[in-house]
């Protein structure tokens, strides 16, 4: 029978001075949870880990394998051996929580953090009948908005893998935001609660998520916390919480991409922090690197039709921000001044030109020098 070595984290804070790893040889069959049960039944009954349902429902057996968060009952041993090419598998408890014993961690902290985001329904009496004899009907169409989020089983895989939790202790955790978002899009939930949730989400680090997507990767249930966080950010901006660097960054993207087809990394620091010096410093830094810079991106071919598509979508869809046309006109003027023509003519010319980037640098240098 094929076997593999598991190096399992062992630590009993009441007895051990420090954690250590103990090696066990286990069969390569079934799941990681089967392997741990094999150890407990045959090799070492003192090993502690949590596992209840054994079928991906309760979420209690998440842990780390060579640093990667896995739900033990969902992870085939064969897959692990193939991934790690027969190397020993190091089994650790989840990160960002205290160890109670071996692979068992204390989940109180993330639970408390989650509670600050009101992850429950606050019924709107206009929608939810107070008379218990009447039902509050939810139609399948409506449920689509939170069909995935309700599958969160509090396994804390995302909390363990989270890059924001790692470096910001205030950060509430991916699952907590997903659970909050679930009620933000529930028609039965009262508006005042939705407003509060957004406030608490902001103070709980809503804009600190770095969008690494690890929470999507590790979630055994297909919840997409990083995407829910984007949705919550959009809601916060729509509700008027625009005085945040993240909200101003979003405005930069929305306006500049519409206007030029590109963001403008020279103006980004200035528009996020009102700091002109940043643009000058950045320009200087690039010059020191020997790179020529211009301040407006080359307007792309087909830009006008691109703008039509952009507007068409935004006119129909729920959105965080309105396009700021006065900002767009300012950008248009900058482009016109540099290229000495109106934006439509420039885009038309881009059709004819088809220059390489290098050629264009030369041309822009000429143009800028000629000002």
């Amino acid at each position: 029978m094929e076997t593999v070595k598991l190096q399992v984290f062992r630590y009993d804070p009441e007895k051990d001075a420090a954690p250590y790893y103990k090696e066990y040889e286990v069969p390569v069959e079934g799941t990681l949870l089967n392997a741990l049960l094999y150890i407990k039944d045959n090799l070492d009954p003192t090993l502690a880990f949590r596992a209840f349902c054994r079928s991906e429902v309760c979420g209690s057996c998440s842990m780390k394998v060579n640093g990667k968060t896995k739900l033990a009952c969902k992870t085939p041993m064969k897959e692990l051996v193939e991934t790690w090419k027969g190397k020993p598998l190091r089994i650790d408890p989840l990160s960002h929580m205290n160890v109670i014993k071996d692979l068992v961690v204390d989940i109180d902290k993330p639970i408390e953090k989650m509670k600050t985001l009101i992850p429950w329904l606050v019924p709107d009496p206009r929608v939810v009948p107070t008379d218990p004899m009447h039902e509050s009907i939810i139609y399948p169409e409506e449920m689509k908005a939170y069909r995935d989020q309700i599958h969160c089983m509090l396994c804390f895989s995302c909390y363990s893998a989270c890059e924001a939790v790692e470096d910001n202790s205030r950060y509430r955790g991916p699952f907590a935001f997903s659970r909050a978002y679930r009620f933000q899009v529930d028609r039965r939930d009262i508006e005042t609660a939705k407003e509060k949730r957004i406030r608490y989400a902001i103070s709980g680090g809503l804009w600190s998520c770095v969008q690494c997507q690890k929470c999507l990767y590790v979630c055994p249930k297909g919840v997409k916390p990083a995407e829910d966080i984007q949705n919550l950010r959009g809601q916060s901006v729509k509700k008027g919480f625009t005085d945040k660097p993240g909200a101003r960054k979003l405005k930069h993207f929305v306006d500049w991409i519409y206007a030029t087809g590109q963001i403008n990394r020279l103006y980004l620091p200035e528009e996020v922090y009102g700091n002109k010096e940043a643009r000058e410093k950045l320009t200087k830094a690039y010059q020191e690197m020997g790179v020529e810079v211009w301040e407006v991106p080359k307007p792309t071919k087909g830009l006008m039709k691109f703008r039509d598509i952009y507007l068409e979508i935004l006119s129909k869809e729920n959105k965080a921000l309105e396009l700021d046309f006065s900002h767009v006109r300012k950008i248009d003027k900058m482009v016109s001044d540099i290229f000495k023509a109106d934006i439509c003519t420039i885009v038309d010319r881009a059709h004819e030109r088809g220059e390489s980037a290098k050629g264009l640098i030369g041309k822009l240098k000429e143009l800028l020098g000629g000002k």
Binding site: V65, N66, T83, E163, E166, N168, G205, S208, V210, Q211, C212, Q213, K214, L216, Y217, K224, E227, Q230, N231, G234, V237, P245, K249, L250, F253, V254, I257, G261, Q262, I263, N264, R265, L268, V272, Y273, A285, E288, M289, G290, V291, V293, W294, P297, K298, K301, G302, K305, F306, I309, Y310, E312, I313, E317, K319, A320, L321, G354, A357, K358, I361
Partner: protein, 282 residues
Amino acid sequence: MIKIGFYQGCCFQGQDAHMFETMKETFKKLDVELELLEETTCCGGNTIDEENRKLSYAINARNIALAEARGLDMLVSCNTCYMVIAKAKRALDTDEELREEINNLLREEGLEYKGTSRIYHLLDFFRDAVGYEKIRKAVKRPLKGWKVAAYYGCHVLYPKEIAIDNSDNPSSLQEILKALGAEVIDDYEHKDACCGYHSFFTDKSMTLKKLNRILGSVKKMGADIVATPCPLCFKSFDIYQLNMEKPPMVPSSFLPELMAYAFGIDKETSGLAHHLVKVEKD
């Protein structure tokens, strides 16, 4: 000769137009012709999704359709652009209603999203379309004695649906670095930590903590340089590193620069000479 549509995003124009020149030169040595998809726009940087996700899908349906109209597959170098475009492709390929709605908008420009072009990132393009052997053969100046730390960045490995390698234990970057003759370091402690590029404007201290951990663990392993296939991770390492109180001054490189150098292109043209944290090794 392979011909492929090159998606530039924001990383290969404006301030960074030289990077596209480097890419072209480097790919020429591998018999690959990059055709610049000029009409493409910013992918939305995973930020437009906060405004409206369908807008992100529409922008990138258009970007992909521009490659399809030329009958070309698409090469995306930036990890984030790759992730955003690949997510859009997945949404369009699995949701007929969405595809139809967006195609109705693209039609006016004479475009249609069909789903026929493959979206490559640098790493799977080198692995699947070029082949490591071809890279090995193009090397004129092996990176002998270079200890290079392999750093993937997040958006080519996560989420799983768009990953270009085994997300838990990837190997493509190490294989490329080995083909260049480098000694690969891939067991440093924080190799899987995020570079923090996307939180620089919203939570700067977090970015700096991440850089400190990653570059600190790279330094501990005695690496000469970090190599990453993502231009954003590279910027985080080379530029944002200097925002740290005590920068560890670990040099870094965007993978094609290192390839260019190994293919015999000089440090100046390859871009290696222009880093803020100087690349001393040669």
